[in-house]
Symmetry: C2
Subunit: 275 residues, 2 copies
Amino acid sequence: MNPARPVFFVSDHTGITAEIIGKSLLSQYPDEAFATESLPFVDSQEKAQNAAAHIKDSSKVSSLRPFVFSSLTDPDARDALNASDALVMDIYGQFLGMMTAEIGHPATPARGKFHAMGDQNTYTSRIDALNFSLATDDGMALKYDRADLILVGVSRSGKTPTSLYMAMQYGLCVANYPLTPEHFDHFDLPAVLKPHLRKLRGLTLSPQRLSQIRAERRPNSDYASLETCKMELTTAETMLRSAGIPVLDSTTRSVEEIAALLRQSLTNPTVQRPA
Amino acid sequence: MNPARPVFFVSDHTGITAEIIGKSLLSQYPDEAFATESLPFVDSQEKAQNAAAHIKDSSKVSSLRPFVFSSLTDPDARDALNASDALVMDIYGQFLGMMTAEIGHPATPARGKFHAMGDQNTYTSRIDALNFSLATDDGMALKYDRADLILVGVSRSGKTPTSLYMAMQYGLCVANYPLTPEHFDHFDLPAVLKPHLRKLRGLTLSPQRLSQIRAERRPNSDYASLETCKMELTTAETMLRSAGIPVLDSTTRSVEEIAALLRQSLTNPTVQRPA
């Protein structure tokens, strides 16, 4: 393994944008080692100069030129950063020029507008969605008329993290309902779900993975046994598919991937269940 | 208001990176109207051509040239997109070239590596952190030895969304503990928190805002009255500050901002409480 290259995410606000872009780009060099550091809230010229000095210091320790991913909006602060001798990936500098040329008037520099409460409606709707997902977690509070989606699956199939993530990221009201052994005697969808067929999405995963996840909670239990997991998953999947509910496999998918696929299923008829 | 310009977020994976960069840049033009659409999972040459055709169609309807924020990794797919006549903000095209020149060997194109389960350890630790935050929400399951942070504050001061967000985004184990009227008789920190002083962070907000938030849950209640809110907030803040616990005001801050500040307080001594 090569020595680690110093990498900085510099932002005048939370640093979320710079960090996501940076990590996304770094992931394209899987054989390189990077030592990352976040420098958020660099919101004055003095702080920008301090950040540049800190970055310059790091290049004295490492033999590799530092990488900087910057979402600084202030042109003077961006200049200060460029003087650090690092390779600066200047997100705003790069793209705002292109956009401004097309729009015909310059941007209104507004620090961290996107991750602030700026757009109060959007922000409030995301927090409302999160509260909705918490209140309707695990089959509690069946306020399904308000739900955008209702996730259905056996215990520990990933419903809760997915619901919370979709609320936070997309502002969608996502409820979730667990299928438990009591439902399996009937081989029929729980009555409370039937009026909401179009909102239902199933989550499944491999019995091996489910057994592993459950064993972390209750080792050596019947609940975590491979046999129980197989039986529950097969019954649940049969139940969901025969009701025409699309089922997603989360075995090798991250919460972000499941969330993006589920969101797409709201608008894209090709992944929607047949009407 | 000008007519809305069509904007597309194109990705061969979840589209999270393209969407965050795009929305962040669009927020710099608050007077412009944009009609945004996400096109995730564009993971074949055929899908890239379909996306380009869809984008081209949109420019027939609008008089404004479409903007495209693309995180496509495949060079051929990027070429297909560039042929759409839209203004393409090509995140990978722009920055990977710079990085490759410095690193000395080309990137290993890997679709959506960052938001996949790719780095199994990091991914698992984020899901573990989320489960930890859920299990320790609202003073349940006091497993504070494992906690990175413990948020303390009155009911509805923003502890839960912040805990969940920090787990999801940063993989930090963030517990939260509510200060309720029973604690206020003692004017002293609850005993269960005392061994963990260095991990404690207080959340507060204006009485007006708290009253408003509580009234959405229980309108016209004593719980939501401005008087109750004032009393609880004053007592809680006095209690926290006299124990040397840093207190953050969430009145005008988003969950992302609070989370970034709290994370910074873990590493940056200038915002840490005095030892």
